[in-house]
Point group: C2
Chain length 152, copies 2
């Protein structure tokens, strides 16, 4: 194990506690991945994460990184997004059902709750004759900060 990975570097972090609560071992590579994710402000791609791990000389292999990501997706603390460009990205988030708004300029994301969407989905169910079991809404635009910067 690479000495650069030290448990404790990301002690206070909801991702770590989600791992622990679910009964998974809090190994050094997992803590390191959790820490990398926690330091990201908005969404990130798998290769962003791999590059960050390389920069910090964490010595985490690609396979381990993807395994950790899968685990965190399964636990609901990370979600996979599909950007309009077709790229896959990941965002840290709360485990409850919600949707993401992604800033097209800086990559910041915000989580939003239902906000009347469920009504629209029920209406669509009625229109289409489908029984809708799952839905995914992704929104893209400009965040508060980028809007302010554009206006000034």
């Amino acid at each position: 194990m690479d000495p650069a990975i030290l448990p404790g570097m990301a002690a206070s972090n909801s991702i770590v506690s989600a791992l622990g609560d679910a009964g998974y071992r809090l190994t050094a590579p997992r803590l390191a991945v959790a820490d990398l994710i926690a330091t990201h402000d908005g969404h990130f791609t798998a290769s962003d994460l791999a590059a960050a791990a390389r920069d910090r000389r964490l010595g985490i292999s690609r396979a381990t990184l993807f395994r950790a990501l899968d685990l965190l997706i399964e636990l609901g603390v990370v979600e996979r997004l599909d950007l309009p460009t077709g790229e896959h990205a990941y965002v840290p988030c709360a485990p409850a059902h919600h949707h993401h708004v992604v800033c097209s300029r800086c990559g910041r994301t915000a989580e939003v709750d239902d906000a009347g969407l469920l009504g629209a989905v029920r209406e669509i169910e009625r229109q289409s004759g489908f029984r809708i079991d799952a839905h995914r809404l992704e929104m893209f635009g400009l965040c508060r900060h980028c809007l302010a910067r554009t206006a000034s």
Copy 2:
């Protein structure tokens, strides 16, 4: 050019007219791709399309297939979906803004219009402080046919 590709095989087809209207050449490979897409009932993946082209011995290269798909996406007559499995799929559709409901069992898709979604998006805009320029809603469930089959 492979003699199996004969223009006219897909004469009456909205995809073909969209190509023509946009000023693109109606070449045999493009007509063949349009025809392949038109014969698909629900969504399909790029490799489905490649396999179908191979079965019919159309002699269309992968690059040409992807080029044709890109073109049709640009024209808005085909849309790219992200299935819950993480796979990319494509669906033929109308160029106007709409959303897709995908049957998780048989793959059939239905297009639905806004149905009150815009109100929800405005509310989310207010909540989050973002200016939302684009959104994508995908819904997954069971279509009328699969529901009936399940019930019986």
